[in-house]
C-alpha cells in the first residue's frame, strides 16, 4: 500500500508529512527514552526483517499480491505504537529513497498509514483483545489483520481526497484486497512473535508473554 508520488498532489502530501512528522518526533523521543543497548539488537534485526518481508509479495488471489506491513508486529513486540512509527519510518525512508517503493512527497502519508495508524491500531487492539481473551495468538492475529485493513482504508480515503480513486470503489477494492492480505499479515505476525519470544523472551514486552511468565519477567 505504498502510495507513489503520482497518486497525490504535492500540497496534500505536504499535509500528511506535517502530521507524520509530529509522530516521528514523538517516536524519536520514545526511542531516546526507551531504547537502551540491551534492546538495540532486537530493534535493528526487526528493521532488517520488516524491510525483507515487505519486499516479498505473496499471491493473495484476485490477480493481486500482498506483503507484510509489520506495524502491529513491531508495536506488540516492543510494547509501544511509537516503536512501529520509529521502525516503519526508517524502513519506508530506505524503500522510498533507494528503491522508489512509495513516493517522496507521499512518504508522510505512507508513514501515517503504515507506521502511525498500523502501529496504534495494532498495539491497542492487541492490548484490548489480550485482556478480553487472554490468548496471544488470537489477539495478535486479529490486531495484525486490523493493522493491515484499517491503514488500507485510510489510504483509500486519502486517494479519494487526492482525486485518484472514487471513494466507494477505492474503499471496496482496498478493503477487499487487504482483508485477504491481512490474513497473511496475521499469520506472519503470530509466527514472528512466537519465534522472538522463544529466543529472547527478556527483550519482549511483558504484555506478549503468558500472565505467569510476564509476572516473573
Amino acid at each position: 500500500m505504498h502510495v507513489p508520488d503520482a497518486f497525490m498532489p504535492i500540497w496534500q502530501g505536504a499535509i500528511y508529512w506535517i502530521i507524520a512528522l509530529v509522530f516521528v518526533y514523538l517516536s524519536l523521543r520514545w526511542a531516546k527514552n526507551e531504547l537502551n543497548e540491551e534492546k538495540l539488537p532486537l530493534v535493528a534485526v526487526l528493521a532488517a526483517g520488516i524491510f525483507a518481508l515487505q519486499s516479498f509479495n505473496l499471491p493473495v488471489s484476485m490477480g493481486t499480491s500482498g506483503h507484510l506491513v509489520g506495524g502491529a508486529l513491531v508495536a506488540i513486540i516492543l510494547g509501544s505504537p511509537f516503536a512501529a512509527v520509529f521502525i516503519l519510518t526508517l524502513v519506508l525512508t530506505v524503500q522510498g529513497i533507494m528503491f522508489g517503493d512509495g513516493g517522496i512527497t507521499t512518504m508522510g502519508a505512507n508513514i501515517l498509514n503504515m507506521g502511525v495508524v498500523g502501529g496504534f491500531v495494532g498495539f491497542y487492539s492487541f492490548k484490548g483483545l489480550k485482556a478480553a481473551t487472554g490468548s496471544m495468538p488470537v489477539s495478535a492475529f486479529i490486531a495484525a489483520w486490523l493493522a493491515c485493513v484499517i491503514p488500507a482504508l485510510c489510504a483509500a480515503v486519502e486517494l479519494w481526497l487526492a482525486g485518484t480513486f472514487p471513494l466507494e470503489a477505492g474503499l471496496v477494492a482496498m478493503g477487499l484486497y487487504h482483508a485477504v492480505i491481512g490474513v497473511v499479515e496475521g499469520v506472519i505476525t503470530v509466527a514472528a512473535i512466537y519465534l522472538i519470544v522463544s529466543v529472547r523472551p527478556d527483550m519482549v514486552d511483558k504484555g506478549v508473554l503468558p500472565a505467569k511468565a510476564g509476572a516473573v519477567a
Binding site: G13, A31, A48, T64, S65, M98, G170, R200
Partner: protein, 119 residues
Amino acid sequence: MIDNKTLIVGGLIIAVLIGVVAVFFASSDPDGLESTALIIQGGKTLTGPTPPDAEILENMDGKFAYLAPMPDYSLGEESGPGGGILAIVGGTLLAFLVAIGLIYVLRVAGKKGPPKANQ
C-alpha cells in the same frame, strides 16, 4: 535463550534469506493499491486476474518526479536475479545499519544534552 551476537547474526541471516527467496518467488501480480488503481483505470476487474500487459497510468502533471537508484528492488533488467539479490540484501543491511546508527545518535545526543532541571 540466545545471546545478542547470535540474535543479530541469526536475525540477519533470516532477513537476507527472505529477501533472496523474494527475488525468485515473489508474486508478479500488483499489490492491493496497484490492483485498485488498475480497476479504477479499467485495467482489471475486482476479483479477476490481472492481464499480463496491464499497466498503471501515472499522471505526473504537477507531481514530484524522483528516480530511485535501484527502482523495483533491482539494479536493472540486464543485471538479472543477481542484481535483485544485491539490491534486497543491500536494502536489508541498510535498514539494519540505519536503525543502529539512529539509536546510537539518539543515545549519544541524550547523554550530551543539558540536564532537564536547567531547561
